[in-house]
């Protein structure tokens, strides 16, 4: 125990969970597990809000020329839906998993900076509340989640909605950067003896790469938000073409953040999949080095593809070509992962728990999103389908069919660790089936709508052949997703109270977080088991065939 790097002692004792009871602990805690759970809960609550907004939108779009919502209300709601889901749901949900799991997976006591960790979380909560305060503060923002200038400038958005948007996201953004720094430092400095960089669980690898993406990309957003606020409040004109500013500049700044952001929203999900699939296939990850290495490749490339969001802007042929090429290239490392995950399942002894069901269908739904992503890199196709419902379908296949499926897989997988109780598998299978069917029903038809010429972000649409029918199908699917989320909510609340006792390691998993009790004690580990390979608990369970045994040179080197 003494040789484990510990959090530096502070002069005053850190406020902690104490007896793990009491309201004050939820405010004052700096324990990474409690903060991680709070991240997950608050982002789930925002998910409910964002989902409700989605249902309002789908209700309005269920039939042509509907008047359920006014255009102004619709525009506010789709802006808030996008902003909420991206900044207050997907990113913090993944950070929640990171915050909870990374210290446990590397055998550490806590994050490197526990107080900073709490700051990151509360910045999320208060940034989110500031954003939502706009509804009673004169009108919600209404310029879309990427708030293109000059529509986001004062002359065209005269309520304070955009100010709340920019300020709220700035607060959230600063917290996110802090979380990135915290994660990198934790992984760099607090690994238990034997946990070398090449033995890190892949979830930790992806969190590490993700954190570098965060500190590389988020400042671009934070800076442009400050510039937008200067435009709106101090009469600057960075992005106002009427005063010699540039509308295109905002798009460059925003997407320089916005495309890495896509990977910030998906890399930790890859990490979850890379943990879940091996454990339920009873095999180690196929090609650890390729999975980890391709992640680094994605991270670098993600900074060089932003202008593929701007092919319709008219940047000129050379730029379109360069960014088309780099965007195609990024499909390669992503494809590698898909094949490695399939190869991990190949020859395994697969147990289809709810977690594994979500992980396996992730492979299919995410592939659809990935492939439709490649069609945008075929620049002329992008000229047709960009800003249409095809894009809406694509990004939901990535963010829902990809990230959210992985998040659900992770939730079923780690819930027992966090609470000591298993989620109900019966409810889980209902949740999975409804989600899978509802999701595909909602979003697959949107590909067709886009190809038929329906622009995105329209409050209503004319009664053209089949448009009404396809939209109605999509709306029906959305309500099915709503029911699925209720099932999940019910499962979580009921199982948290009365679920089956999980024990320390219900899945016979191999990484360090399963070496402690469920839920772990405040100090995480009585004793970190010896780590001689990537799967310390496999080595303990299979002394006859440990990973740490030297392998034949032809087989990949697992350990050094």
């Amino acid at each position: 125990m003494t040789d484990i790097p510990l959090v530096p002692e502070t002069t005053r004792p850190l406020p902690t969970l104490g007896s793990s009871e009491g309201l004050i602990s939820w405010v004052a805690s700096v324990d990474h597990k409690q903060i991680g759970i709070m991240y997950l809960i608050s982002s789930f609550l925002f998910f409910v809000v964002g989902g409700f907004e989605a249902l309002l939108m789908r209700t309005q779009l269920a039939q042509p020329n509907a008047t359920f919502l006014s255009p102004e209300a619709y525009n506010q709601i789709f802006t808030m839906h996008g902003t909420t889901m991206i900044f207050l749901v997907v990113v913090p949900m993944l950070i929640g998993f990171t915050t909870y799991l990374v210290p446990l997976m590397i055998g550490a006591r806590d994050m490197a900076f526990p107080r900073l960790n709490a700051l990151s979380f509360w910045a999320l909560v208060f940034g989110g509340l500031m954003l939502y305060y706009s509804f009673i503060g004169g009108g919600a923002p209404n310029a879309g989640w990427f708030s293109y200038a000059p529509l986001s400038e004062r002359p065209y958005a005269s309520t304070n909605g955009l100010d709340y948007w920019a300020l709220g996201l700035l607060v959230v953004g600063v917290g996110t950067v802090a979380a990135g720094i915290n994660t990198i430092t934790t992984i760099w400095k607090l690994r238990a003896p034997g946990v070398t960089i090449r033995r890190l669980p892949l979830f930790v690898w992806m969190s590490l790469v993700n954190s570098f993406l965060i500190i590389g990309a988020l400042p671009a957003l934070n800076a442009s938000l400050v510039m937008l606020l200067a435009d709106r409040m101090l009469n600057a004109h960075f992005f106002a073409p009427a005063e010699s500013g540039s509308a295109v500049l905002w798009q460059h700044f925003f997407w320089a953040f916005g495309h890495p952001e896509v990977y910030i929203m998906v890399l930790p999900a890859f990490g979850i999949i890379s943990e879940v699939i091996p454990v339920f296939s009873r095999k180690p990850i196929f090609g650890y080095a390729f999975v980890a290495g391709s992640t680094v490749g994605i991270a670098f490339l993600s900074f060089a593809v932003w202008a593929h969001h701007m092919f319709a802007v008219g940047l000129g042929r050379p730029w379109d070509l360069i960014f088309g090429a780099s965007s195609m290239l990024i499909a390669v490392p992503t494809g590698v992962k898909i094949f490695n995950w399939i190869a991990t399942m190949w020859g395994g002894a697969i147990r289809f728990t709810t977690s594994m069901l979500f992980a396996a269908s992730f492979l299919i739904t995410f592939t659809i999103g990935g492939i439709s992503g490649v069609t945008f890199a075929v620049v002329p196709v992008d000229w047709q389908v960009t800003d249409s419902y095809y894009v809406v379908a694509h990004m939901h296949y990535v963010l829902f069919g990809g990230t959210m499926f992985a998040v659900f897989a992770g939730a079923y997988y780690w819930f027992p660790k966090m609470t000591g109780r298993l989620l109900s598998e019966t409810l889980g299978k209902w949740h999975f089936s409804l989600t899978f069917i509802g999701f595909n029903l909602t979003f697959f038809v949107q590909h067709f709508l886009g190809l038929m010429g329906m622009p995105r972000r329209v409050a209503t649409y004319p009664d053209l052949p089949n448009w009404g029918l396809l939209n109605l199908t999509s709306t029906a699917g959305a309500f099915m997703l709503g029911v699925a989320s209720l099932v999940f909510f019910w499962n979580v609340t009921a199982s948290w109270r009365n679920g089956k006792e999980a024990g320390d390691n219900p899945w016979q998993a191999w990484t360090l977080e399963w070496a402690t009790t469920s839920p772990p004690p405040i100090y995480n580990f009585d004793q970190v088991p010896p780590v001689k390979s990537r799967r310390p608990l496999w080595d303990l369970a299979h002394p006859e065939n440990p990973d740490s045994r030297p392998r034949k040179p032809k087989v990949e080197q697992t350990d050094q």
Partner: protein, 307 residues
């Protein structure tokens, strides 16, 4: 998009079909493998731990290189496709048509013929027209799916592209870049005519409106147009009205729609639109002027003379 009516649109359509075929192949491969593995490698009762395979580097290099080669091919096709889908614009060529996006309507002008119209683009069939796209306030985007690519109309960053339609007819399009409250009701149409019809159309539309309409009732409408605030936003060439804020109304009666594709252009709809634009298109910049029904009738009578 699958039913293109221009060489540019056809190029994109073909490229998309090719991409779709490749995509379908990859998807079937991946989905097939996942389903096969899910069925064949389920845990059997009493089964122990399977063989622990840590990876086969050669295989992994294979599935890194194979997609890369495939994508290289796709990039080649993309490169060629770009030239066909959006031919390079010759230097110093003056635009045939200028389309300007405003919140939430389209200004359409023909600089060589001196025609100014709105919300519909007239084109001769089979002729490649150079269109200049201008953002009048915020960013808009001209998208007529059957005629090919869409392109943004960015204030301070004019764009140009070729547009062509091969068969006479009407092609519906819309603004594809979110532009504010009435983005969904900013429709446009390309009206494609035979070259003779098009020349005739240009000729009629380059003529100014008569200084005063003949019928007395319409004349009262013109007076109202000038006394009420209509004249502070709209222009009617040949009369005192010359404001540039709203659509030019010189030949409004010959257009197919009102309010950027929202209503069929009939006298009844025109009356309804003038009576309360905010009910038909809430948030649009045309105010409810609280005119009496008689005043509206006179105004409509005047508008109907503007063929």
């Amino acid at each position: 998009m699958f039913n293109p009516d221009s060489p540019q649109g056809l190029a994109i359509s073909n490229l998309f079909v090719l991409t779709l075929l490749i995509a379908a192949g990859i998807f079937l491969l991946v989905a097939g493998l996942v389903v096969y593995a899910s069925i064949c490698y389920r845990r059997k009762p009493g089964q122990g731990e399977p063989y622990q395979n840590f990876g086969i580097p050669k295989l992994e290099v294979g599935w890194t290189v194979a997609p890369a080669v495939l994508l290289l091919g796709l990039f080649g096709v993309t490169f060629v496709g770009m030239g066909n889908a959006d031919p390079a614009v010759e230097k110093d060529r003056a635009p045939d048509i200028i389309v300007t996006g405003y919140q939430w309507w389209w200004g359409v002008s023909y600089p060589q013929a001196g025609v100014i119209s709105a919300n519909e683009i007239h084109m001769p069939a089979g002729k490649r027209m150079l269109v200049r796209l201008i953002g009048g306030d915020v960013i808009h985007d001209l998208w007529i799916p059957r005629l090919g690519r869409k392109m943004d109309m960015v204030p301070g960053h004019p764009n140009e592209m070729y547009m062509q339609a091969d068969t006479p007819g009407v092609y519906i399009g819309a603004c594809a870049e979110y532009c504010g409250v009435q983005h969904s009701k900013m429709l446009i149409r390309a009206v494609v005519q035979t070259p003779t019809e098009y020349d005739a159309w240009l000729k009629t539309h380059s003529a100014p409106a008569p200084a005063h309409p003949d019928a007395a009732f319409a004349l009262r409408g013109q007076q109202l147009f000038q006394q009420k605030t209509c004249i502070s936003c709209h222009a009617i060439n040949g009369t005192a009205a010359n404001a540039q804020i709203g659509p030019n109304l010189t030949h409004v009666a010959s257009r197919q729609t009102l309010a950027a594709g929202v209503l069929q252009n009939t006298p009844e709809n025109m009356a309804a639109w003038i009576k309360n634009p905010q009910q038909i298109k809430p948030g649009s910049y045309m105010p409810n002027l609280r005119l009496t029904d008689d005043e509206i009738k006179a105004l409509v009578a005047y508008m109907e003379t503007l063929k």
